[in-house]
Each structure stands twice: as C-alpha cells, then as structure tokens.
C-alpha cells in the first residue's frame, strides 16, 4: 500500500490526466520515491491485464434485431402522434358545436324577452294615456255642465 502523499496523483499521471506542469513535477518525485514508482508499475500492469481481453462484436443477427426494434419504436411514435392529433381534432369539433348552440343568429330568448317587455310597456303606456284622455273628457263634461259657470 502506497502511503506517500503523492499516491493519489500517480493514477492521474498514469492516465495522462495531470496538467503538464504537475506531470513534470510528479515524474521528478517518482524518480525519488520507491513507493510511487512501484504504484506506477502496478497500474501499468493492471491496465495491461485488463486490456488483454477484447470485447465481442455484436453478431449481425443481433444488429438486425436492433434495427427492427428502432422501426417498431418509430412506428409507435407516429401512431401515438396520430392519436393525439385525432383527440385534439375531436375536441375542436365538440367545442365548435357547443359554441354554435349558444351563439346569437337565431332570436335568442333574451332578445325576445326584451321585445315583449317593450311591447308590454308601450301597451301599458298606451292604456295609461288612453285613461288620461278619458279623464280629460270626463273633466270637460263636468266642466261643461250647467251651473259650473264655465260654459254658456
């Protein structure tokens, strides 16, 4: 076990990950430190052993299966997009139908109501004015009766 203070730097040096100035400094240290020198030898040896095993290539039939999987995923994505668009279109149709049912363009109940009220009020006003005319006529008759002194 490397107890040297520089032990943790030997790995980075081995991997070429030290900045140039630090690498030069550590190289000089390794020349003087048997523990760090032995650590470097062990790291090189370990990398060699691990690197002696190569990794298998993907078999052609597996590559074919991979391409088919990609096609399935792509088709699945298009299908889901189509379903989503159909849902949006259906929502728009429903919204338009509801809007058409409540918008004016037919005589709405509110307008009919207002017109009825206007007619009713005007009729009442007509009746009221008719009543006052009759009163007036009655007044004239009374006023024209003999003894009232208003008529000769």
């Amino acid at each position: 076990m490397n107890e040297c203070d520089h032990a943790s730097l030997v790995g980075a040096y081995h991997d070429g990950e030290l900045p140039p100035a630090s690498a030069v400094e550590l190289e000089a240290h390794i020349q003087r430190c048997p523990e760090c020198a032995a650590e470097l030898v062990r790291l090189c040896s370990l990398s060699r052993v691990l690197g002696s095993a190569s990794w298998p290539q993907m078999p052609p039939e597996a590559l074919g299966r991979l391409h088919r999987k990609v096609d399935l995923v792509a088709r699945d994505g298009i299908r889901k997009l189509a379903e989503a668009l159909a849902g949006v279109a259906a929502s728009i149709v429903v919204a338009c139908s509801v809007a058409l049912a409540v918008l004016p363009g037919t005589a709405g109940p509110a307008q009919a109501s207002a017109r009825w009220e206007t007619v009713a009020v005007s009729q009442q006003q007509a009746e009221a004015s008719a009543a006052s005319t009759e009163e007036q006529i009655a007044l004239w008759i009374v006023q024209e009766l003999p003894g009232n002194g208003t008529h000769e």
């Binding site: 980075a12 990794w55 597996a62």
Partner: protein, 193 residues
C-alpha cells in the same frame, strides 16, 4: 475503440461531426438517419453493455433499450455533450436498471467468461482462465467502481468524459478509480506479478 474518434470533432470548415448531423436529422423525423447512428455505435454499445452486465444476451437487451430510449428522447438531447457520451450515459443507466431488475428477480446470469473474447482469437486454457478471472473481478466491484473502471480501462474515456457520462464530479471519478484499482490489484494479483 469504436474507431469513431474522428467523428467527434468539428471539421476545418466548422461543420458538425457526422454523428451529430445524423442525430439532428433523426430529431426531425428522419428514421434512416437514426438507423445510420445505430450502425455507427451498435458494436461500441454492445461491448460496453457486455462489460457491464456480464453476458451477451442481456447486453443485447440493454442495447435495444438504450437505442429505443435514445430515439424517444432525441428531442431532449441538447448537444451539450457528444452523441457518443449521450448514448453512453443512457446505456450505463439502462445497464444499472437491468442489473437491479435481474437481482430482484434472482435471475442475473454472468456468462462463464463474462462475455469476454480472447484477444488472440484462440481459446487457450490460460487465456480462458484469465478472462474468467478478469470478468469475475470486474463483476465483483460495486456498481460505482465497475462503471468507472469499465469506462476508463475498457473504453479509454477521459476523466471529464466519465464525469459527464456518470454525472459526477471529476474528483469523484478520480477517487473511485483509485479505490477500484486497489481492489482489482488485490483480486488479480496473480496476474500482476
């Protein structure tokens, strides 16, 4: 390892790497472009998957899940890393999920040689023993240690690339490598003499 190092750099005309162009086209619905990416990275991803999960059958599943996830997640690829790093990150996570599911089911199988091939192409007894021991040693590491060892020793990634793939600080990469190598030196001491 995958011979794609040249594809990682912008060329002298400032054009993006081939794999990045393919990814952009795939993002806009060009499935053929994604198939070209598959051809470019399938072997690399397969080898990485074997080193992480220990057998070829599971490795193929992991690679399928990786590329399916990559296709669905193309819209989220922000090009902050290379395509290779992005795919590697997805694969490492898929491999971890795969191993976790297998452990819960009690069904994880490590191929007798860990899926390793002989570098010489010939299966001598000593070569076979070495591959078995190497695979067993790497497989016995904790997931965190195994990931950094595989990415550094088998894939030759830099510390910064490993940090990006695993989403950990560079200092953590260094410390995990230090401890993982200590452990492997003990397990493989017969081969290090």
């Amino acid at each position: 390892m995958d011979g794609n190092e040249d594809s990682q750099a912008f060329n002298r005309c400032g054009e993006p790497p081939v794999d990045l162009r393919l990814a952009r086209r795939a993002r806009h619905g060009d499935v053929a472009a994604f198939h070209a990416l598959v051809d470019q990275y399938a072997s690399y991803l397969f080898a990485l998957a074997v080193s992480l999960v220990g057998n070829a059958a599971d490795a193929e599943d992991v690679v399928q899940e990786t590329l399916a996830g990559a296709y669905r997640g193309l819209g989220a690829f922000e090009e902050r890393s290379s395509v290779k790093t992005w795919l590697t990150r997805i694969l490492v996570r898929q491999a971890a999920r795969h191993l976790e599911r297998s452990r819960r089911r009690g069904s994880h199988v490590v191929q007798s040689d860990g899926g390793l091939a002989s570098a010489s192409g010939r299966a001598s007894t000593s070569d076979a023993d070495a591959r078995i021991d190497i695979a067993a040693a790497v497989g016995s590491l904790s997931p965190e240690h195994r990931d950094v060892i595989v990415l550094r020793e088998f894939q030759g990634m830099s510390y910064d690339e490993i940090a990006q793939v695993l989403a950990i600080p560079r200092g953590t990469v260094e410390s995990r490598l230090y401890r993982a190598r200590r452990r492997l030196q003990q397990l493989l001491r017969d081969y290090l003499a």
